[in-house]
Amino acid sequence: MQDYTRTTTAMLDGLFDSENSTVWADFDRRYRPILVGFSRRLGLSDADAADVAQETIARFVTEYRDGKYDRERARLRSWLVGIAKYRVLEIQRKRGVRKEARGESAIFSLSDEQTMTAAWDEERRSAVLRDAMERLRTETRTSPKTIEAFEMLMVRNQPVAKVAEQLEMSSHDVYLAKSRVAQKLRDIVSEMEKVYDGEF
């Protein structure tokens, strides 16, 4: 999980110092998952998406240290999207015309700026949500039973009566557990999202 104590702005300031490997690692943790998800949305396989994320971060760090990235001129998000898009196109060109069956329709046109940004934002949100879940389990004093009630109910789509029976709770308490989880997650997410201040 990434470090949610440093804002993106603080992180970018630290990146100038090549010795500061903690910042580099933080930046990588924050943006790699987003880049992987983003590239997958553009139709890449998991392996290709991982490559794109790797190359994009490496390239960004180089460019940043060379002073090519000007925070006044471009948002971090657009800058990263720009690099990633270029990599994706390169891979697609290398593969030639893709011949594959599609049972899925989530392919975006690379020239659509609006769509690109939206895809990025969603991936970022997903990353936050995943981390939030993790944090709920490890960092808060939420009882395992409460979390389990939530998972059975919402994730496995099990009927409330069954959940109640298995966990030896009343239906009312199962719902209360769910509501508690929701409230905790909401708080965690809003706190975590504050760190992305430099992106917009």
Binding site: E104, D112, A182
Partner: protein, 844 residues
């Protein structure tokens, strides 16, 4: 109710959960929620919790899957399928290539993420939609085989496995190979025909796609298209705009918004139907032809919605100049913002693509012309008066066109050019208007519809202009021989004007005059008389006796009275109109000739054949001097003169007149109309009375009937009279059964359209009597004949040939009935009638 009691009655949390998920609609519960704010708040909280948690579930799907006991290899996940590999991983889930174990066929299995359905209702909807989609079997539709639940509780869909490339990739390759001109367009249209065919097939089975886009269409190695995910969009709720998603639009939908129709982005879910799919096909077509989407969607959601629902896209030709105006029209017609203006089905789009490929005129272009026209009316707020002027221009052409139909084509171009001039003169020229210059208004009727609508909508803002426009529309319909519609428009005009003008006004007088004309044209002379008299009263009041307007109405009233057999007053009014016209226009003015011609006809009807002939020749001379031998009025006078000669059995004089009359009518070419019908009728009568060639008489008569049936669909004395003549001709050929049928038709119609005891009714009764006699129904024949004869002999001038005809047949019948006495008395009357005829002929 005190608060303690209120809380006692508050439902359990589980019940509120159901409310929040929308799976209960208990009435008492609803009542409680209306009263209890605490419960309402709780329901809102639950709904908002569920939204957030669903989002979590989707985002953490992979994590949760890893946690699942089965592990990451999905092989055993999907019962009945053997997974061969992953094809795609995306926002909604993962797609695998698999073999269905039972059938051994290769399929694509799409698994949906956990939490794809936030509510039970959504899950039920999914299952129902899949069931519908599973019924679709068409070469251009990817067939869904079944749906089910994996062992760890995820939903999946098994569908036909298609290998190929997505449409956008395919099109990009076509463009590389073929350029973007006609060859490319042809290939693309052929491909789209097949897509339309598949989409139409699904529509006919009640399945709307709702999320058509290039990535949902796979083109295989043979170039055949396959549309994916039919019904899935609605089922999974991933259509660009679901009713529940309009307020908060997650980014994932933005990508598909480019293909969403205005009604979809506006959340008008009740408007979403097959035409929303048509719209998406249009956007796909637009993008394929130009390489660009119609809109650059940017900014906030509100901006995007505004752009899609309000902004006009640039025309495809402006991006790809190799496209023709027709291609342009097809694409633009497909992506019209109003559902009603689009192609109404994928089939309709298919047909136009097909027309284009066959080089036949397309439908879209026709509508486009009207659309542009309508748009210009509104956009430039063309003053209604100018619109009215425009209609009058059309009317002029329309009326000419009924005589000279060959110019109809020219008329359409001309009309368009005129509108262009009008909008130009208002300083409102733009690119779109310029398209009008080369459009052809396919049908005047369509144009009049648009103008009708315009008159309706401007009624409040510009009542006078609107009334004038309506009057002009009425005149246009009159010119097109749509008399009832014309009447309706004139009546509306009159109602409107009565509300506007309190005192006598020239416009009101004109409206009465026009209404009377439309009634006259329908043969409703009694009613016409009333309005003509009112118009005349007003015009006398406003303009005095010595005015062109007054003379005009006087002339028309005279012609109405003539047809009501009020010959004395009719002659008097004609004489008055001639006097005034001579005085203000000059003795030899064509309008004087017009009235002389009508007076001649009236005198003929009144039995003053000699006087009639004099007036007619006088008229003919003026017209020939003024307008030359080919003028249409020459034809009219010759026609009346010919009628007169036929009445007098002067067939050799009648024939050349009739020939020349018809020659002039035919000069204009084009479709034949009522005037031609009248010519054929007289030819038939000539042949019949001459008694030489009944087959020719029959042919001419039938030709006249064919031409009359349309405009006289609701009956007319001319039509009745023509049936009557046909009956007599058939009788002469011994075809008595057919003759009887025609005679019965003639009498029935004649009684319906003429006043009781009108001579025309009597005349047809005599005809029926003869037909009955031939069919050996002597008693019926006698009643019909004597009734008819009574009327004809008292209402027709004594020299009229009809009296002689009726007497001759009555005598024959009396003899057949062995009534010698009756026969003898009829013979005496016949002798006297023959004397009268001789006298009339000598008057010439």
């Amino acid at each position: 109710m005190d608060s303690a009691n209120g809380q006692d009655q508050c439902p359990d949390l589980s019940v509120l959960e159901d409310v929040a998920r929308g799976i209960t609609t208990d009435e008492s519960l609803t009542r409680h929620l209306l009263e209890c704010e605490a419960c309402r708040k709780k329901v809102d909280e639950i709904a908002s919790d569920n939204d957030l948690l669903s989002e979590f579930v989707v985002a953490n799907a992979t994590t949760f899957q890893l946690d699942a006991p089965v592990g990451s290899t999905p092989d055993s996940d999907i019962p009945g399928y053997e997974i061969e590999g992953e094809i795609h991983r995306g926002g909604q889930g993962v797609v695998y290539k698999a073999t269905q174990i039972a059938t051994k066929r290769t399929v694509a299995v799409k698994t949906l993420l956990h939490g794809a359905f936030a509510t039970t209702r959504q899950r039920i909807r999914f299952e129902r939609e899949v069931e519908l989609a599973a019924g679709l079997v068409h070469p251009a539709v990817v067939t869904v085989f079944e749906s089910g639940v994996t062992s760890d509780g995820r939903h999946y869909l098994a569908m036909e496995y298609v290998e190929g490339e997505t449409l956008d990739v395919h099109v990009a390759r076509l463009r590389d190979e073929l350029g973007q001109g006609r060859v490319f367009v042809d290939r693309l249209f052929r491909l789209f025909e097949r897509i339309c065919d598949g989409v139409n097939y699904a529509h006919q089975r009640g399945v709307i796609h709702r999320d058509l886009k290039p990535s949902n269409i796979i083109v295989d190695a043979e170039g055949a298209p396959h549309v994916l995910d039919f019904g899935v969009a609605k089922a999974v709720g991933s259509e660009a705009m679901d009713e529940e998603r309009t307020t908060t639009m997650p980014g994932e939908f933005v990508g598909t918004l480019a293909y969403a129709s205005p009604e979809q982005v506006l959340g008008d879910s009740h408007l979403i139907d097959i035409r929303s799919d048509v719209y998406a096909l249009g956007v796909i077509l637009y993008e394929a032809l130009t390489g660009q989407r119609p809109y650059k969607l940017a900014g906030s959601l509100a901006d995007v919605v505004y752009t899609i629902s309000e902004v006009d896209p640039p025309s495809p030709t402006s991006i790809n100049p190799e496209l023709t105006a027709e291609v342009n029209a097809i694409v633009m017609h497909t992506i019209r913002k109003s559902v009603d203006e689009r192609y109404q089905s994928a089939r309709a789009l298919y047909l136009d693509l097909d027309r284009f490929l066959r080089g036949v005129p397309i439908e879209a272009r026709r509508d486009n012309a009207l659309y542009v026209f309508r748009k210009n009316l509104y956009r430039y707020r063309v003053p209604v008066a100018i619109a009215a002027t425009f209609v009058l221009l059309i009317v002029t052409f329309a009326i000419n066109a009924t005589r000279q139909a060959s110019i109809e084509r020219g008329l359409r171009k001309e009309s368009a050019a005129r509108l262009l001039t009008i909008t130009n003169s208002l300083g409102t020229f733009d690119q779109e208007t310029s398209e009008l210059a080369d459009i052809e208004l396919q049908s005047l009727a369509d144009l009049l519809d648009v103008l009708d609508e315009f008159a309706d909508e401007t009624e409040r803002s510009d009542p006078i202009g609107s009334a004038q426009l309506r009057a002009a529309i009425g005149t246009a319909y009159l010119g097109r021989e749509s008399f009832e519609i014309a009447e309706d428009r004139y009546r509306q005009t009159l109602t409107q004007m009565r509300g506007i003008y309190r005192k006598p006004h020239a416009d009101v007088a004109e409206a009465h005059h026009n209404l009377a004309r439309s009634l006259w044209k329908q043969g409703r002379y009694e009613e016409a008389q009333v309005d003509y008299r009112e118009a005349l009263r007003l015009r006398l009041l406003l303009f005095g006796a010595e005015s062109a307007e007054t003379a005009h109405t006087t002339h028309h009233l005279a012609s109405t009275l003539q047809l009501l057999d009020q010959f004395d007053e009719s002659v008097e009014l004609y004489e008055e109109a001639i006097r005034v016209r001579r005085q203000i226009l000059g003795a030899d003015h064509p309008q004087v000739a017009n009235t002389l011609m009508s007076l001649g006809g009236c005198l003929r009807d009144a039995g003053h054949l000699g006087k009639a002939a004099t007036r007619l020749r006088e008229s003919l001379e003026i017209i020939r001097t003024d307008s030359g031998p080919d003028d249409w009025r020459v034809s009219r006078v010759e026609h009346v003169l010919a009628m007169l000669y036929i009445d007098l059995a002067e067939f050799d004089k009648a024939e050349p007149m009739l020939d020349d009359s018809l020659r002039i009518k035919r000069l204009g070419g084009g479709d034949e109309d009522l005037n031609d019908a009248r010519g054929y009728y007289e030819f038939a009568r000539l042949d019949y009375m001459r008694g030489e060639d009944m087959l020719s008489a029959e042919a001419q008569c039938r030709r006249a009937l064919d031409l009359m049936r349309g405009p006289y669909a609701s009956g007319h004395w001319e039509l009745a009279q023509t049936h009557g003549l046909l009956s007599r001709i058939l009788l002469e050929q011994g075809r008595r059964k057919e003759a009887l049928a025609e005679a019965q038709l003639a009498v029935g119609m004649s009684e319906a359209v003429n006043p009781p005891n009108h001579w025309r009714v009597g005349w047809e009764r005599c005809g029926l009597g003869a037909a009955l006699a031939a069919n050996e129904r002597l008693k019926d024949a006698w009643i019909s004949t004597t009734d008819g004869l009574e009327i004809v002999s008292t209402t027709r001038p004594p020299g009229d040939w009809r009296i002689r005809w009726s007497l001759e047949h009555a005598i024959e019948l009396a003899r057949a009935m062995d009534d010698a006495e009756a026969a003898r008395s009829l013979e005496i009357r016949l002798a006297s009638a023959r004397d009268e005829a001789k006298k009339a002929r000598s008057e010439l």
